[in-house]
């Protein structure tokens, strides 16, 4: 199984480990991530304006390249996944955006949203299967109580992201169970961490994350996992000292490839 892969800017810099653990884990699980050539930053947030075209082109280029290669496109960072998936939806369903974006792109065949965008977790759930993952675990994380932090970007808007039930997701809980650990369900797991507000108003993000972490802690979580570098950054700024890991780190640990991932 081979997929096109879009790492995104933060995975080349502050979140190198999120990427490295994912690549090593993919190998252990029997699929290959082939990084797109010359990919460009997705911009971090989806441009909401109906007249925004130029700011969507980096995503369109990535999507069109995967189409050319005849591969599905795998993402890892929640923000990149959100942006690429929504731009792809625009290219499928919004004629004005499709026409104008293709006018810029000048491809031999216009791009019309043909590429399937998959989050790394969707590859595990839908292509590998959690049962299969469980079989490949060599270091089960027995006894660990882990809270899944979904945040916003993987889930909402549910009709476009189609990742999981946006109000009561279970993807990460199933993932945690497959690794041999115990998922802790708490009410704030799909509440916003503050996102980009932490740049200019860190106190606002801090108080939102304090609520999230206290909720998780109160329900017995010893740690949180997330797919998003910005969520992780915000969640680690609270006064609780609740450890927050990328889900790929625990995955690599359970699959016994953590050491070699960072080589």
């Amino acid at each position: 199984m081979k997929f096109s892969y879009y790492p995104g800017c933060t995975l080349r810099n502050k979140a190198k480990d999120l990427d490295a653990y994912a690549r090593a884990s993919a190998k252990a699980l029997g699929f290959e991530l082939e990084e797109l050539q010359d990919w460009q930053c997705c911009g971090g947030v989806y441009p909401l304006g109906t007249d925004e075209i130029a700011s969507k082109l980096s995503s369109v280029r990535a999507l069109a390249q995967a189409k050319e290669k005849g591969q599905e496109l795998v993402t890892l960072c929640s923000a990149c996944h959100h942006v690429l998936k929504r731009v792809n939806d625009d290219m499928q369903n919004v004629e004005d955006i499709r026409t104008r974006a293709n006018n810029y792109m000048k491809l031999d065949t216009p791009y019309g949203g043909e590429t399937k965008v998959l989050h790394f977790l969707e590859v595990i759930r839908d292509r590998i299967g959690f049962d299969e993952l469980k079989k490949k675990v060599v270091n089960p994380l027995t006894g660990k109580k882990i809270g899944a932090y979904y945040g916003c970007l993987l889930l909402r808007p549910g009709n476009i992201m189609a990742f999981d039930d946006p109000e009561n997701p279970k993807m990460l809980e199933d993932f945690i169970r497959a690794l041999g650990a115990e998922p802790v369900v708490y009410p704030y797991r799909n509440e916003c961490c503050g996102g980009y507000i932490s740049l200019k108003e860190p106190d606002m993000a801090k108080s939102m994350c304090q609520t999230i972490c206290e909720s998780a802690n109160g329900f017995g979580a010893e740690m949180l996992i997330t797919a998003c570098p910005l969520c992780r950054y915000n969640l680690t700024k609270t006064q609780l000292d609740l450890p927050v890991y990328y889900f790929t780190e625990l995955l690599a640990e359970a699959l016994g490839v953590k050491e070699e991932a960072l080589k």
Partner: protein
């Protein structure tokens, strides 16, 4: 057409939202994680566009408090998408000369060792042109 009405039309066009679909149930405000910080609340956004009082919206603190978490978009029973309205109002402001809410000069003082690139690009896209 007055300048204000013109701007109200621009907000409708940029957001793609029909404010007349709103039935004022208030679910958007009830679910907004930033509602405490906002002077104009999410359920009020539509009224400002309907009445053409866009200047007040453009000057509101709410523009810079919205987190783009899409809770209001997800939970609106009428698919009005208040988050798109406030984004359109923000666009109208930052697309004007001198309207940026964040400038490159401010960045160095805001950085710390762990700050992810994603935070900078996201803030740039929402706050700046």
């Amino acid at each position: 057409m007055s300048h204000q009405n013109n701007q109200a039309e621009m907000i409708k066009e940029i957001s793609g939202v029909n404010p007349y679909k709103c039935m004022k149930c208030g679910k958007c405000t009830a679910t907004c994680p930033a509602f405490d910080e906002m002077d104009i609340k999410p359920h009020q956004f539509v009224s400002y566009v309907q009445s053409g009082n866009v200047q007040a919206l453009a000057e509101s603190k709410s523009l810079w408090k919205c987190l783009s978490c899409f809770a209001c978009v997800e939970r609106c029973p009428r698919d009005v998408q208040p988050g798109r309205i406030i984004d359109a109002a923000r666009q109208i402001v930052v697309r004007q000369r001198g309207g940026n809410y964040l400038t490159a000069d401010e960045i160095p003082a805001l950085l710390d060792e762990e700050l992810p690139q994603q935070l900078l690009v996201s803030a740039y896209r929402r706050y700046k042109r």
